[in-house]
Amino acid sequence: MKIDRRSFLGLGLGAAAGIAVSPVGVKLTDDSSIWTQNWPWTPVPEDGEISYENSVCSLCPGSCGISVRKIKNRPVKIEGLDEYPVNDGGICLHGIAGLQYLYDPARVKSPMRKNGDRFEPISWDEAISLVSGKLADVRDSGAPHTLGLISGGAGGSVTALFKRFLDAFGSPNVYAMPSLEDNLSLTAATLHGAGNTIGFDLENADLVLSFGAGLIEGWGSPMACFKANSARRDRHAKLYQIEPRLSNTAANADRWIPIKPGTEADLALGLCAVLLKKNLFTPGEFFGGFNRFAAVVQKEYAPEKVEAVTGVKAADIEKLAVAFAKAKMPVAVPGKGRGDHGQNLKEFAAVQTLNALAGRLNKEGGAFVMNPDSYLAFPEASMDDAAEAGAGQEKSVGSVNELVDTLNASAKPVLNALFVYNANPCYTLRDTKRVKEAFKKVPFVVSFSSFMDETAMASDVILPASTFLERLEDVPTGGGLAKTVVGLTRPMVNPIFDTKNPGDALILLAQAMGGTIAESCAWDTYDECLEEVAGDIWDALSEDGYAVVSEGAPMGTPGTDFSFLASNPASVQAGGNGDLLLVPIDNIRLAGTAPASTPFAVKTVSDRVLSGTDIVVEINPETAKGLKDCGYAVLITSQGKARVKVNFNEGIMPGVIGMVKGLGHTFDNPYVAGKGVNVNDLIGPVIEPGSGMDAAFGIKATLSKA
């Protein structure tokens, strides 16, 4: 017997046949197909009991009610809360994506101390004793007023607690980041008396004359504006959008009135002039030189003159003024884009004066001059001598932009210590290099940021804040809403990392400082503090999740002081040099201030805004000499230069370059940072005399082929 080739053939065939008729083939075929449908590295969320909890989003001043869907107590989805008085079920993409902030790669996971160029984690005990030690040194040196605070977001008890801490410490140096709320408060203070703010009843107005307000670009309380705008057609109301660019709001409006950037105030005063000339205004309690104002505007802002400045035809100005005066419930709305940065008081005051002249103050569908009576009732603070001395002092300067300039200009430190809460000035303020330099001039900067953003990186100690999904806080609405609703943000999940509510961090600091500072913050926890200071509305807050503090048109008609506008303040001009004008664009998909956008939000941006990692600027093909659509170009301003891609857009006025805000972050988050450029790097501030507002609506620039 010989084993030959055929034997092997038999062996092979036998094995193949044996396997073929065994279950191996059919089973492995089935299993391998299943395997490809269930890659082992695909995360599978845990299953469990589903629950819903209500809270309030505090990512922007909109303060929308949210319903958080949880599975096994883990938040998995954020939805708008039905019947909430601000958003009634609506929610924006930042709110929907809010869960991503919990797990953001840039989150500060524990207190940090800067050691050289690097941060090292420390414990809360170490951090509190380090900061309180430094603050004690500042206070003991006899200069308590050299502790400063830069905060974003206007209201709420946490900001109030920060101010209280500084009061008890002995410093008046509290600065807020530019915001629509502050701009409106300043306008109200200028025209109607201090302590007021302005709300616009967009829900009921039948003609909204928007001076560039991005009503669907994130202006004010975004969801409330979205809702009011969507209901417009049903109400047969009109929206006229005055803006240099065909924004989403302009495209959605009944009429788009293109205007040269930065001349909105001139148009508003031109409209006032027509109303006065044609006697179409409603007399009211006008004082502070109304006649002088009437004379000045009719002389300086006659339609022909305004046409030359704004580019809007004189005949159109007249027609527009008449349409505004003859409408039943018109309202004029100021605040280009989101109405926060690059605004000027002249424009805000001029637009509000239009409301006053049309008799639209405190009328349904008009502009409400509201007294945002603080619902917060803090007990009297304990003040020692140093605190009393500080309380008597003036702030070093008026606004945060002026503070930055003063810090840079002074050889001696103007501030010895600085708190930064809920703000990212090193990214958001114009000419970020200048801001970063100013931060270096402050010997000790404490950041209360949740994320290692540009400002946290420029600080010495970080006391990380829990995000809005991890903490309790009261959040009042702001930003031009015609009602005041205070919502309660509730913890939806225990802090994921070793973070604290900034209110708690501040109470710990105060207790470590001892003395009257500790007495002024004598609560065991911030939650206790809130319950006490929310006073009358605490029951409503804790039971319903919100309290409506004011609603509907306020009683009476407030007086209007014309002294500011009667002096005919100069219009702010764009700085720099070049034949084009670079203006920032607010895009609903990108957050322009703190916190930075989520990875989800960045992914939703069109490739006509962000192409790969290149930012795309808009320009009218008429002025794009030598440039190619979708081609590269170099954008140069007096502040810097950037390589950009070009998008030909006939919806932007010739001579204007539009660049989106909210890109070009430089912190450690691969999904958000390193994409595009920060428009604030390219624009320098132009401070409006008097108001201290950074009024730079743009900067002159050149754009040439790369």
Binding site: L9, G10, G14, A17, G18, S22, T42, E49
Partner: protein
């Protein structure tokens, strides 16, 4: 002269004669081939049938033995522990909190298993990491409510139809996991050929479809379950 040269010189006829003479030899070779074929066939067939399942599945013992019979006697029907939540979702395997509605950190009986439960899980407030025999993959959406809480007979199936008489078991059998797919063996069924005798022997898509065809006359659409 070599053999090859001889062959060449003798011409093709000789070669043909030799070839014919060689046939009985070849028969032997074929016979051996057949033996090899049959041997290999048998070995591979038996391995595929008997050894392959042992290699394909890994066995895990449950954290401790669970006596369903005892619990149904004490607590009532299946739904006492495997209940529907208020919103209609199915609770599945009870969590520790559900167990603690009856149990305490003191064992109620004197079995070793309950001692493990009390010491390792109740005392440490740790969830019991049960292996779930009937766990469907994440790509399958299955609503217990739709099958059990419906208004007509079709929607009022009993647990046993799919899960078998597990309520009568006194011990927990080992959990077998498919090494390739990570699925429980119960999905394909114990029988490696995929043959089923009872409705609860397999839980694959075709088994769902069989029942749906029988009940609804249609096996259903993809997105009814693969959402």
């Amino acid at each position: 002269m070599s053999e090859i040269e001889n062959k060449t010189e003798n011409g093709s006829m000789d070669g043909a004669g030799e070839c014919a003479a060689g046939e009985p030899k070849d028969d032997k070779g074929l016979g051996l081939g057949v033996i090899f074929f049959l041997g290999a066939f048998l070995i591979c067939f038996l391995s595929g049938w008997l050894l392959f399942p042992k290699l394909l599945y890994s066995k895990h013992e449950q954290p401790f033995n669970f006596d369903h019979k005892l619990h149904t006697e004490e607590a009532g029907d299946c739904e006492s522990c495997h209940f529907f939540r208020e919103d209609g979702t199915f609770s599945g395997i009870p969590d520790l909190a559900s167990c603690m509605e009856c149990h305490t950190d003191e064992p109620m009986g004197d079995t070793e298993d309950e001692a493990i439960f009390a010491e390792e899980y109740v005392a440490k407030e740790k969830e019991v990491p049960w292996f779930v025999y009937s766990r469907q993959p994440d790509c399958v959406y299955f609503s217990h409510a739709a099958h059990m809480m419906g208004e007509n007979a079709k929607g009022k199936m009993d647990c046993k139809t799919c899960h078998g008489p597990i309520g009568e078991s006194t011990t927990s059998r080992p959990y077998e996991e498919n090494r390739l797919t990570g699925y429980s063996r119960d999905i394909w069924g114990k029988n490696i050929w995929g043959i089923k005798k009872n409705s609860w022997d397999r839980m694959k898509m075709d088994d769902c479809a069989d029942c749906h065809v029988e009940m609804d006359g249609h096996k259903g659409y993809c997105f009814q379950c693969h959402k």
